[in-house]
Amino acid sequence: MGRYIVRRLLNMIPTLLFISLVTFGLAKAIPGGPFDREKPLPAEIVANLNRYYGLDQPNWKQYTDYMGLTRNPSGEYAGVFQFNFGPTFSSRSRTVNDIFKDHLPVSMQLGGGALVIALIIGIPLGIIAALKQNSGWDYLSMGIAIFGVSVPTVVLAPLFIVIFALGLHWFPVAGWGSIDKMVMPSFALGLGYSAIIARLTRASMLQVVREDYIRTARAKGLRDRVVIIRHALKNAFIPVATVLGPMFAAVLTGTLVVETFFAIPGLGRYYITSITNRDVPVIIGTTLLYAFFLVVANLLVDITYGFLDPRIKFD
């Protein structure tokens, strides 16, 4: 187990390096520079700025400097490997680390809220549907699920605003910072995922309740509730657990749409602005950060597999 985790962690390094390389290449390939303005800056000033940020260096050097693999022009190793995601071209006093500190928690809260909603709606819906298979409850739950899958965030967000904010005045139209402002964005983001979780829970629950060990548990004379919660649910949760990792990563990047609709100061919105501004350190930094979440999430999923199902062995 320990060796497996170490090997997986080591595997992450080339993956993330490759991602950083591709992102750097693409970000650099976009024509235009960070200091292009409607009214051009004097050439000397641009040259100074370029020197200040090390943009006068050859591209490969800029990359290795950014990653912290070579000494940067000020003679230090200060890069991603030192957990320094570099400066941002749009503000002299702030670094990409500052931006992460300000905006990432917002996106995390939003993503976390959405995931919680996805789970507390999805799992009960799936269990009910499975336990009462082919009944009205089943059809109702799966009807809700197909609604959730079909109505994307871009549709839900304006729908919620029109109905619950402008029509019923239950929630504020936009903004961030208090619980009531979190409700609509979290639902708009989480509903689609709750549908996925509901369908998955139902399918795996249907499979599990037919297993021999469930029959054994019932034969032992255990109460129905104990059989469902202790024996069935734990095993039915395995497929659900596997999607949670990638889902969390998807939710994090998915916050982008919701952030735009509800004027939430999250990292996603900042990412788009940074592309328009050719703010390369922000672009690579954000991509690497999200990629890191993604690979860690996948690793955690594989480890939880082992805990939930002792039949799975690592090698």
Binding site: V22, A29, V151, V155
Partner: protein, 354 residues
């Protein structure tokens, strides 16, 4: 085909020899088709998809107005019935005009016409995404799964790396790259110029005057094939040790023949299901890209750009955002119903799974 080969073929396909089977010969696809027609939700989805296709193809004939031209006198025009339905008492400030069934946008362009033309963007994106993911994924997965060993290891490692990419961020970056590199007036003879020419041809083929559809296809295609590749590989791994493949090897069939005649027909079902179910996702991606301004170029209408334009005036004119949003939701419903039905029909064992 020699007799021996034909016998092996029969063995492989499970078809009875002449005069052997008395019962009605059914094949997988005919069976599936019958099951699909019996599924009411799937038929409804299929009918809606066909209607949307018809609307897209005949947009020029159906749409009451031009999608690009508007009169500034009609800015934000709202028909009376929408004023009655919508919250916020729009009658107080809106230009009431029943000339436009669903209202007009901030440039006085008819919303209905723009939504209809928007189908010319969304549908091709859905189908092209599916096609690209099918082609690349299938070929990639077949090679990886069939040859196995080192080739498989390396190829799957690449898929793993692609999977680690935050897809949305990669697409956004790719689109920003395509948009800036291939826009403007590139010099003839350069790659940018060639791409521009191909793009114009694609746009023309889809009945759009501009729009940059090729780049959206490319952006989605690059990030869409990995799922299919993994699925195809997995299917092949479980198939290639089966007796009928061994038999085909033994009578001397080549790799190409085995793949195309024996493996592909057997793995197409799950893969088609998977690709169909992915179509709403591709449509959604384009909508998202247009929403943030990296999708189709204006004035070509996309439901995504319409939603983003409408969202700006959501307090005063909610109809502007709701019209494209509901069109999108309807399309997604239709494709999901159809995809679910297709899955139940092609593989009844999978019925009800995710």
């Amino acid at each position: 085909m020699t007799t021996k080969e034909r016998a092996a073929q029969r063995l492989a396909d499970g078809t009875p020899a002449e005069g052997e089977g008395q019962q009605k010969v059914t094949n997988l696809w005919a069976d599936a088709w019958r099951r699909l027609l019996r599924n009411r939700a799937a038929v409804l989805g299929g009918v809606i998809v066909i209607l949307i296709i018809v609307a897209a193809v005949f947009a020029g004939q159906i749409a009451p107005y031009d999608y690009a031209a508007g009169d500034s006198a009609d800015n934000y025009a709202v028909p009376l019935w929408i004023c009655k339905v919508m919250p916020g008492n729009m009658e107080a400030y809106a230009t009431i005009s029943d000339e436009f069934t669903l209202g007009a946008d901030y440039l006085g362009r008819d919303l209905l016409s723009r939504v209809i033309y928007g189908a010319r963007v969304s549908l091709p994106v859905g189908f092209a995404g599916a096609l690209i993911s099918l082609l690349i994924g299938l070929i990639y997965g077949c090679i990886s799964g069939y040859y196995g060993g080192r080739v498989d290891n390396i190829m799957m490692r690449i898929v793993d790396i692609m999977y680690a990419f935050p897809t949305m961020l990669l697409i956004i970056l790719l689109m920003a790259f395509f948009k800036t590199t291939f826009s403007g007036e590139p010099v003839p003879g350069t790659a940018a110029y060639t791409f521009g020419q191909i793009n114009d041809a694609v746009d023309g083929l889809l009945g759009l005057e501009g729009g940059g559809m090729l780049f959206i296809f490319m952006g989605i295609g690059i990030t869409a094939w990995m799922g299919t590749a993994r699925l195809a590989r997995g299917q092949i791994l479980s198939l290639k040790r089966k007796e009928f493949i061994e038999a085909s090897h033994m009578i001397g069939s080549g790799d190409m023949r085995i793949i195309s005649r024996h493996i592909l027909p057997n793995i197409m079902g799950p893969i088609l299901i998977n690709v169909t179910l992915a179509i709403p996702g591709f449509i959604n991606t384009e909508v998202f890209l247009s929403f943030i301004g990296l999708g189709v170029d204006p004035p070509t209408p996309s439901w995504g750009s319409m939603i983003s334009e409408g969202a700006r005036g959501i307090r005063s004119y909610p109809n502007q955002v709701l019209v494209p949003a509901l069109a999108l939701a309807l399309t997604m419903f239709a494709f999901n119903f159809l995809g679910d039905g297709l899955r139940d029909a092609l593989d009844p064992r999978m019925k009800g799974t995710s």
